[in-house]
């Protein structure tokens, strides 16, 4: 189901972020389109789960693209080339090209980051962070939050069922909905806080406040080569970005 992983998650995340930065730096629709076609699409297709990722990208980015097109396509007071005048709304060429630029940028943004995130092995990422000596509190909060999300969603569903079993019927008005939200959230929060208080004791007992470097049960999948590669990628992007932004200013 999952593709065979070649690089460490940290490397892949960094690559994704740097790609986003490059798209922002260059800020031309040609470049965004090229990244989209040459990098994002192949990455999604070869991810091993193209359907899920494709669907997620569509769900996340689709409404944004559409509403952005409507907003800038119809309302762009700065635009001078009027293609159609619809009373208060005017379709302008500038508005459409702005919408296209932003749309492409958002597509790359979503495609790159979601592909990286949805093929990400969270345990491996946490193990790498631990092996690289990241702050243990950060690793705990990130790991624990990611682990809690499905648990919280499941518990919320169970509580909703339990409340229905004792007579909760969700009404239509906003106040009724707010009340329904509270009948679910309150026991959810109380239950989670009770767990958290026990987890507090557990962390104490398991020596979480110790100051030595934490170790990981999972082996280190990071390699010296990748560590160097990450630094090189970072440096190249930094140099390129500076050059790209400064050169036009210097050369006038």
């Amino acid at each position: 189901m999952r593709r065979r992983r070649i690089y460490n998650p940290l490397t892949e995340l960094l690559a994704a972020v740097l790609l986003v930065v490059l798209v922002l730096v260059v800020n031309r629709w040609e470049f965004s389109l090229a990244v989209l076609v040459l990098v994002v699409v192949p990455a999604v297709v070869s991810s091993g789960r193209p359907r899920q990722i494709g669907l997620a990208v569509a769900v996340v980015a689709g409404p944004l693209l559409l509403s952005s097109l409507l907003l800038h396509g119809l309302f762009y007071p700065e635009g001078s080339t009027v293609l159609a005048d619809l009373g208060p709304a005017r379709v302008t060429a500038e508005g459409l090209s702005f919408a296209a630029l932003m749309g492409l940028r958002m597509s790359v943004f979503t495609g790159v980051l979601l592909t990286a995130a949805m093929t990400l092995e969270v345990p491996e990422l946490l193990a790498t962070m631990t092996h690289r000596g990241w702050n243990r509190k950060l690793v705990f909060v990130v790991g624990s939050a990611v682990g809690l999300i499905p648990h919280v969603a499941l518990r919320a569903r169970q509580i909703t069922r339990a409340q229905q079993a004792r007579g909760l019927v969700v009404g239509r008005g906003p106040l009724a909905r707010l009340r329904a939200l509270l009948t679910v959230t309150t026991p959810l929060v109380i239950g989670l806080l009770v767990d958290a208080s026990e987890r507090n004791h557990m962390l104490g007992a398991r020596g979480f406040s110790s100051t030595v470097a934490r170790t990981s049960y999972l082996p280190d999948t990071d390699t010296p080569g990748q560590r160097i590669a990450r630094r090189v990628m970072l440096a190249v992007t930094a140099v390129f970005s500076t050059a790209w932004l400064i050169l036009p200013v210097v050369t006038g």
Partner: protein, 496 residues
């Protein structure tokens, strides 16, 4: 090796607990701390685990001696503070409710077991061999790569025990480790504890009742209202008349008032299931580990009490949830008093079917017990003052009349269960659907539950209870229905 002398222990507003309690545990011993709800056994377990409650506003006077080192507490702010990490390396502790003891950041059982040592900087290869050893002792080896958040109750409990044992403490303290487990899982956990004890670990187990089976030579310290009432061998404890302190023996039938003998079915059919088939949508499978149903017929008349029996995953909970519309049959039909359940919202059926969940805490959300219990009748359409009156009466019946203004979560586990039961009584549905109603109850509450259930049936209601508690089912139910793999198995009808 560890001993405790408690003069008193009190939360800032509460009555003193653990007055004059002493307990000494030797290597390889098996000690049961037995007591009904609010007897102070959890407090004692936490003291043994080095949690004196000073950070939560509790005041402890007494002394704890561990490996010859005595630490005294005078209830003053200058009292010594126990180093939890150093303490847990010698005394492992498994609290009630496994979820709070998972770090939630481990995607595998192996990582969870290694959580403690990895915090102390044990290198990866040593972690691996350490985890392998602990896992082998607790027969967790095949589960090492499983997600701890998707284990069954027994497996989860053993994982938490393994995590507490990773640093090889000489004493292991467990607070109600068998709560909510079916017989097989409980046996697995008991076997795991026996392996640890065989290696010299002293085991202290807190239980609401005396265990039916325990290792030979097991000792019992019985508590009632925070005071010791018995200290001796388990074999002697059974004959010591501890029931007057609310401490029964697990597996004993509840005491029923002879006059309350259930009369049996009389009158109209309240619940009818015809050829009910049901399967969970594939996406939701990981949810509740619930099983599917196939071709289930069941009929329930007024005055009848039916026990649903069967192992975990046999479909008991799923069947129960068909009665109030939480699950909707894919095939066949479900009717309540002749009215088929079609598209009515579950909330609207609450007036006809009262449902007690296995995990009652998910139902409680109000600020006071009284408001909590009056929610049901109010939602069912009673006027507010009427709802409050019904709630008050229901609370009297479950013996919580004095706690109307308490916060539901400041009550103990047993009392919270009774609050949920009172909610059903106050709403007044004809059919009760109870999912594992006796799990974790102490003897008085179990007896009370038996009385309430039979009284409800005598009053023309009907009760279905899914339970592992054979003695309870036999004492209370008119007949048992056995489920296996979502089908009803033919069975003899043990009549009372």
């Amino acid at each position: 090796m560890i001993s405790i002398e408690s003069t008193s222990f009190a939360y800032d507003d509460g009555a003193p607990l653990l007055v004059g309690v002493t307990l000494a545990v030797q290597p390889g011993e098996y000690v049961v701390v037995a007591g009904a709800s609010a007897s102070g056994k959890t407090t004692l377990a936490r003291l043994l685990a080095g949690q004196t409650g000073a950070d939560a506003g509790a005041v402890f006077r007494g002394a704890v001696t561990l490996d010859g080192e005595t630490i005294r507490f005078d209830g003053a702010p200058t009292d010594p503070r126990i180093d939890p990490a150093a303490w847990s390396a010698r005394v492992g502790f498994v609290a009630q409710g496994a979820w709070g003891q998972l770090s939630m950041m481990s995607a595998s059982v192996g990582e969870e077991i290694a959580f403690g040592p990895s915090n102390l900087g044990v290198p990866t290869d040593q972690l691996r061999s350490l985890v392998a050893d602990v896992a082998a002792a607790l027969t967790l080896t095949p589960l090492l790569n499983h997600d701890p958040r998707r284990l069954s109750g027994g497996q989860l409990q053993r994982t938490v025990i393994a995590a507490a044992m990773a640093q090889r403490p000489a004493v292991l303290v467990l607070d109600e480790p068998f709560q909510g487990l079916d017989d097989d899982s409980a046996q697995d956990v008991a076997d795991a504890l026996e392996v640890l004890r065989g290696a010299g670990t002293a085991i202290v187990v807190c239980e609401p009742m005396l265990p039916r089976a325990a290792p030979e030579g097991a000792r019992v310290l019985a508590l009632a209202d925070g005071r010791p009432v018995f200290d001796g061998l388990l074999t002697d404890a059974r004959g010591a008349g501890l029931r007057r302190y609310g401490i029964g023996t697990a597996g004993d039938p509840p005491r029923l008032d002879p006059a309350s003998d259930p009369t049996g079915p009389h009158g109209r059919e309240l619940v009818t299931l015809r050829g009910v088939g049901f399967s969970y949508p594939s996406g939701r499978r990981g949810d509740d580990r619930s099983a599917c149903l196939a071709g289930v017929d069941l009929s329930l008349h007024a005055g009848e009490i039916v026990a649903l029996r069967g192992s975990n995953g046999s479909g008991k909970s799923t069947l129960l949830q068909h009665l109030n519309g939480l699950c909707r049959a894919d095939a066949g039909s479900v009717s309540l008093a002749g009215v088929p359940i079609l598209r009515q919202p579950t909330g609207a059926l609450a007036a006809c079917v009262g449902f007690l969940f296995q995990d009652t805490d998910q139902q409680l959300f109000e600020r006071t017990v009284l408001r909590e219990v009056s929610y049901g009748p109010f939602a069912a359409g009673h006027r507010r003052d009427d709802a409050v009156r019904r709630a008050s009466e229901a609370l009297e019946r479950v013996g919580l009349g004095a706690l109307e203004e308490a916060h539901p979560y400041e009550l103990g586990f047993v009392q919270r269960r009774l609050v949920a039961l009172a909610s059903i009584i106050a709403t007044g549905p004809a059919v009760w659907a109870l999912d594992e109603p006796t799990a974790g109850l102490d003897d008085p509450a179990r007896t009370l539950l038996a009385a309430l259930v039979t009284a409800h049936a005598r009053g023309g209601g009907a009760v279905v209870l899914a339970t592992h508690d054979e003695a309870f089912a036999r004492a209370v139910a008119h007949r048992s229905v056995r489920l296996e793999g979502g089908r009803i198995m033919p069975e003899d009808h043990p009549s009372v």
